[in-house]
């Protein structure tokens, strides 16, 4: 690990001040599960590390009139076990509970989880790829069996690693960003960006910005949601594929659905074509299968990950039947 200066911020203002001062030389430490690994491997070598763990007003889960408000430093374990989250925002509780291992869920925050860097082993290894300012994606000709895309890959074929992001897309969440400018709020799906937009980062955050809050709107009546994830082992592993679905149904007929995929594209991916196919219809096995086909339509598997198409379809079908 390269030496760095540790800044223990106590307030958002202190965080903003440190970020404004050090810009690209600083990183936010929001649990550290990902950042410390990147630093140990010298993939990232910040000169300043700003800890936001002691910032008081960003650890909370509150259900208000407009929905669920979550402070960015809220740990994943708390989200996974929170009664209101389990009851009305089920996909998020399930996604938070499916992250990594109990130790990492006790340390990891929701904000940090959304800002994870790619798990591609070329990015994590001694390869000068697009993500590190190079001009090649080694996964294309190399080993792409696990954490590489089947959808929307271009330039870089990473998959976005966050489980909670997938749930937040399906739950139509908003993300609040603080920085040198006025605080702003964006839709979860607009927060994440693909390699074509900027291959060096995975979201819209500028060096001096940070996430402060996530708001999940109160779901309409008769709405259920779920998150499903397939991984190699029972714990610890990232998703080979995941799906989150939120469905409002009356008498078995779907009125509105939101569907998002994880582990298959460089961004957590909302699949609106599949959502539209569900609206106004009774969710049956056949309809779920059709939606699953639509969700993966246009898939371009790489040399070693064709199986992920089948896997994703099975997950979509299972998730839809679970919330119908």
């Amino acid at each position: 690990m390269q030496s760095f200066t540790w800044i223990n911020a106590k307030s958002i203002e202190e965080v903003k001040g440190a970020l404004a001062k050090h810009g690209k030389k600083a990183r936010i430490f929001a649990g550290g599960g990902d950042l410390t690994t990147l630093m140990k491997e010298r993939i990232d070598t910040p000169e300043f590390v700003v800890n936001i763990g002691d910032v008081k007003d960003i650890h909370y889960i509150r259900e208000e009139k407009d929905g669920l408000h979550i402070g960015a430093m809220t740990i994943l374990a708390d989200l996974a076990e929170h009664e209101a989250v389990l009851g009305r925002y089920t996909a998020l509780a399930e996604a938070a509970g499916a992250v990594a291992s109990p130790q990492l869920r006790n340390m990891g925050s929701i904000g940090g989880n959304l800002c994870q860097r790619p798990r591609c082993w070329y990015y994590r290894g001694a390869f000068h790829c697009y993500k590190k300012g190079g001009d090649f994606c080694f996964a294309v000709t190399g080993d792409n069996r696990y954490y590489h895309s089947i959808l929307k890959g271009e330039l870089c074929y990473m998959v976005h690693p966050s489980d909670t992001a997938v749930a937040l897309l399906a739950l139509d969440a908003r993300i609040t960003i603080a920085g040198p400018q006025k605080e702003k709020t964006v839709k979860a799906e607009d927060f994440f960006i693909g390699p074509r937009q900027d291959v060096l980062r995975e979201n819209i955050l500028q060096p001096a910005e940070l996430i402060t809050e996530i708001v999940v709107p109160t779901p309409p009546a008769n709405t259920r949601s779920t998150f499903l994830k397939t991984r190699i082992r029972g714990s610890w592993d990232f998703a080979l594929a995941s799906v989150a679905v939120r469905c409002t149904a009356k008498n078995g007929v779907c009125q509105a659905a939101r569907l998002a995929l994880g582990g298959v594209a460089p961004v957590p991916l909302r699949v609106e074509r599949a959502e539209r196919a569900l609206a106004g219809k009774k969710i049956t096995r056949e309809l779920s299968q059709q939606a699953a086909q639509l969700a993966t339509a246009g898939a371009r598997p790489m040399t070693m990950n064709r199986y992920k198409v089948d896997l994703t379809r099975s997950l979509v079908e299972k998730a839809l039947l679970a919330v119908a």
Binding site: M1, S101, W121, D143, R233, G234, L315, K318
Partner: protein, 778 residues
């Protein structure tokens, strides 16, 4: 002249050495093996490991934890190319960094050889990770920064990673004799292969591959070395203090008496911490150069890269059977991926693989071809159950396929080919509990409920499968132990072993307590220091620590007891032959009122009484000649396969093991469970994944390498000890640590087939392979 006797096995007469005469102790003391139904007080009971508490409370100190005054920290610069010559090496920037105390490379330490073909610091690197230079500095951070300041100019040469590519003409030639180790495959043959196949009713041929499994030890590889006043002391993360000592003395040309190696606790070895690696020698050299103790531990990435691994194997099995299942011929070939250098790793790459094929089933006509192949990679090594594991993962799936083709129950086919004779040397086994293992496992598991096809529930399919277990015993190497009795009646067993973690300490204490007949808590085991212990075992490998050391400990305890009885005779003023000992009391047989308790007698010992301490000496003798020790068992599992996700979950396992007499039934269970879980890891998850082009390992970290987690282990793992009465040594032990790994792959793959109707012959059986196979089967 040894006493011989004749025994009849499978209708044939064999002349073998008589075990009771062969196992005479010091001064002719008879110490025959314990009898089959002998009542034992401590042996065969459950006792927790003596160090368990220290480990779970964090009090246990490992080599990794050693901190010495003035200690410096070392890091090594390693090759980033798979084959390259060093054109230039510039170390001045590293040397100038504040806090750096020494920099070594081929330029200033080029004469220190590693083995017959290479120096410790290379100027021609053959694999990613080869040692180029080393730095000692005040902190590990400074050493790590300094290593990065060393500039290397390489002339990159062609390399080869893929094992089949390495065998092709025109591949980069890695050794003067070519890429097949020593120029040609190693072939073992018996009988007439052509005749055997001609006699077959059914011939089957299949190819299997096994992955490179890592030992993945929690404690990383490394040591702390201090070279002071001509004496080298090393606190080492090792499986054997004496082997490390002897090899360090050899490599550094030091007298053996000037090297001392210590190990109190070990955070995992599994075969990867036997002997010395470059880092031992580098730490010693840096200590000599700086005069300070040097701490040199590999980091997690380096541990994966360089601590060795199970080889990748490609195994082709062709066999002929009679309709009734009798084997007529086996033609077996294994290609194994070796490293770049001509070292012991090449033996583990392929020659070590194949003994179950040669030995487990009766087959008169057989050929085994072993092809170890050099590639530009680090060398494989012995990994818990080396060779037999790779081979059984293939062979036991093959036997399941053959049973189906022959329309026989998998156990029936195996029993049809059972043999009580070690075929390569035509010697009967001392004991063979394979038949009993099948029977006991089947009964406990409920094997008769196995259906040809699975039960289905939604996307879940369940199936059951089994595998035989096989491991080779040893011939009994020279092994010594001491047992000291102190004036206060406490007993110290002194053995030369490290602490692999299997519980040898409590086992040796049980054996001594049994032989002397003292309470277990009175016995302490001293170990882990090459300077203060006899040569009990060079290093704990081969599942033989108990098998080797146990008989020596029993002999030493018997010797101590003889001396104690002599002392009691003196105390009671009766002849030695008149003394009897039971329940802590010595008494004269002729005058029962004359008696003394244990402590009264031991109280006569020691300098205050003007006497020496009582030291019993014991040694292990070779096994009686003419018979073979092998270890057997049977494993059965039930799996659930999710056809939507491709996940395979082992629901329950029954593991029946014949390892001779179980000395400690608690540690016995943990050994068998732990071994099976390691095999499960290899069957379902673990493999070294390399970038095919560069040879860079892509998953050299715990997270992505993927050992099984608590959630991947079955809730029910039932261990059934099969107690054969083995006469190869005085404690009836055969060895246990490794065999439990060997059966997991076959049993799981066969259960997967039973559940889904698809065969996966390429381990590990990952979700991607399951999904692809299911799709292909539709």
């Amino acid at each position: 002249m040894a006493a011989m006797k004749q025994i009849i096995v499978e209708g044939k007469t064999y002349t073998v050495e008589d075990e009771s005469a062969a196992l005479q102790g010091e001064g002719g003391t008879m110490l025959a093996p314990w009898g089959k139904n002998e009542t034992l007080k401590y042996v065969g009971k459950r006792f927790p490991k003596k160090v368990a508490r220290e480990k779970v409370t964090g009090e246990a100190k490992y080599a990794y934890d050693v901190q010495l005054p003035g200690m410096l920290h070392a890091r090594v610069l390693r090759s980033s190319h798979a084959n390259a010559k060093l054109l230039d090496l510039e170390t001045s920037a590293a040397e100038k960094l504040p806090g750096v105390r020494a920099v070594l490379s081929h330029k200033n330490a080029g004469k220190q050889p590693w083995d017959r073909e290479r120096a410790v610091f290379k100027d021609h690197v053959r694999l990613i990770g080869d040692d180029i230079a080393a730095v000692a500095a005040d902190t590990e951070q400074i050493a790590d920064d300094a290593v990065r300041l060393i500039k290397v100019k390489y002339e990159v040469l062609p390399h080869v990673i893929d094992v089949r590519e390495a065998m092709r003409p025109g591949a980069p030639k890695l050794q003067p004799y070519g890429n097949i180790w020593e120029g040609k495959p190693k072939v073992y043959e018996r009988g007439d292969l052509a005749k055997g196949f001609a006699a077959a009713d059914v011939v089957l041929e299949e190819t299997y591959t096994t992955s490179e499994q890592h030992h993945a030890c929690l404690e990383m590889h490394g040591c702390v070395a201090h070279w002071q006043n001509g004496m080298l002391t090393v606190w080492d993360s090792t499986q054997g203090v004496h082997l490390t000592r002897d090899l360090l003395a050899l490599k550094l040309r030091l007298p053996i008496s000037k090297v001392r190696v210590l190990n109190e606790h070990l955070g995992g070895g599994f075969g990867s911490k036997n002997g010395v690696k470059e880092y031992h020698v580098i730490a010693a050299m840096l200590s000599r150069a700086t005069g300070s103790p040097i701490r040199l531990f590999l980091d997690r990435f380096e541990t994966f890269l360089l601590s060795s691994h199970r080889p990748l194997t490609i195994q082709k099995i062709k066999a002929g059977f009679k309709k009734d299942g009798a084997l007529t011929a086996i033609d077996y070939e294994v290609i194994g991926r070796g490293g770049a250098w001509n070292d012991r790793g090449m033996y583990w790459a392929a020659p070590a693989v194949g003994s179950p094929t040669n030995e487990l089933y009766k087959c008169p006509n057989l050929r085994t071809t072993n092809i170890p192949v050099h590639t530009n990679l680090s060398s494989p090594g012995a990994c818990r159950g080396p060779g037999n594991t790779e081979n059984l993962f293939a062979l036991e799936q093959f036997m399941d396929e053959a049973a189906e083709k022959l329309d026989l129950d998998p156990i029936a086919l195996r029993l049809k080919n059972f043999t009580a004779v070690y075929q390569p040397k035509n010697e009967p086994y001392f004991s063979n509990g394979l038949r009993e293992s099948y029977e006991a496992a089947a009964k406990t598991f409920g094997w008769q409920r196995r259906k040809p096809k699975s039960t289905v529930e939604g996307t879940k399919r369940r199936g059951i499968g089994m595998s035989a277990v096989h491991w080779h015993g040893f011939e009994g190497e020279p092994s010594q132990a001491l047992v000291t009795i102190y004036p206060d009646g406490t007993v110290e067993v002194n053995v030369g072993i490290a602490n692999l973690g299997v519980g040898a300490q409590v086992i040796f204490a049980q054996i001594a307590a049994e032989e002397i007949d003292v309470p277990l808590e009175m016995v302490r085991v001293a170990y882990g220091d090459s300077a203060g212990t006899p040569y009990t075992i060079n290093s704990s490998y081969g599942s033989r620590t108990t098998f080797q050391g146990g008989p020596a400990v029993r002999m030493a305890a018997a010797d101590a007891k003889q001396q104690l009885i002599a002392l009691a005779a003196e105390t009671l003023k009766v002849p030695v032959a008149d003394v009897q000992y039971a329940g802590g009391v010595f008494a004269a047989k002729s005058q029962p009122e004359k008696k003394a308790n244990f402590k009264e007698v031991t109280g006569k010992l020691g300098w205050m009484q003007g006497r020496h301490l009582l030291i019993g000496k014991g040694k292990r003798l070779p096994n009686p000649a003419g018979r073979k020790v092998d270890i057997f068992g049977a494993q059965m599992v039930e799996v659930e396969v999710d056809t939507a996700s491709g996940n395979v979950k082992v629901l329950r396992a029954v593991l029946a093991h014949d390892s001779g007499r179980p000395i400690n039934t608690l540690t016995y269970e943990s050994q068998v469970q732990g071994g099976f879980i390691q095999g499960l890891g290899m069957a379902l998850y673990e493999e070294r994944i390399l970038d095919a082009e560069t040879g860079v390992q892509l998953n050299a970290n715990y997270h992505e390498y993927g050992c099984p987690t608590a959630l991947d282990i079955p809730d029910q793992v039932t261990v059934v000890p099969i107690e054969t009465h083995d006469l190869s040594n005085n404690i009836n032990a055969k060895g246990l640590g490794e065999p439990p790994v060997t059966g997991a792959g076959g049993a799981i793959a066969n259960a997967l087939y039973n559940a889904t109707g698809v065969r996966i012959r390429d381990y590990p059986i990952t979700p991607s392979k399951v999904l692809q196979a299911l799709r292909a089967a539709v």
